[in-house]
Symmetry: C3
Subunit: 70 residues, 3 copies
């Protein structure tokens, strides 16, 4: 048994700790994936709002040109 | 010892490699979590700036209406 | 062998499952890192567009002042 310990001295306890740490890491990764999808959705709203603002500002420039040339 | 190797042929070396790889993965996950928090903070600033721009553009539309009706 | 099993009852199969799960987790982390870089690039564009809109709106305010004082 001592020879086995020297050569394969891996206990269930060590592998159990590894398994639990890995499970916790996977859960963190899954939360990050959900957070990433929330950010992607928020970014779609940003793109829409920025495009809308650009359209409004261009329309206002048109109004300015008409007011100046009036 | 040979029978043990066949059945439980897991060496400390294998588990050490797993532990180190898992530690490196955890560190990457932690950096991603910090990066996520930076993005969330940046997005709050985007929301504020976009809302402020919308308010300014609405105010300018009001000015236009007054200038046109003047 | 039975004593060894009680003490070091870790089979190659257990460690193989851990290794595969860890490899899958690492791949998810790598995809998240790539997604993070895409978001950082998108955010740079948001900053540029918001700064540009702020500049346009300030210029329009200047036009308004000139039109009103005209």
């Amino acid at each position: 048994a001592q020879a086995a310990e020297e050569q394969f001295g891996v206990s269930n306890q060590q592998v159990l700790v590894l398994s639990e740490t890995l499970a916790a890491t996977q859960q963190q990764v899954q939360q990050l994936q959900e957070s990433y999808h929330e950010i992607v959705n928020a970014n779609k709203i940003f793109v829409d709002e920025i495009l809308h603002l650009q359209k409004l500002v261009r329309a206002q420039n048109q109004v300015h040109n008409e007011l100046i040339n009036h």
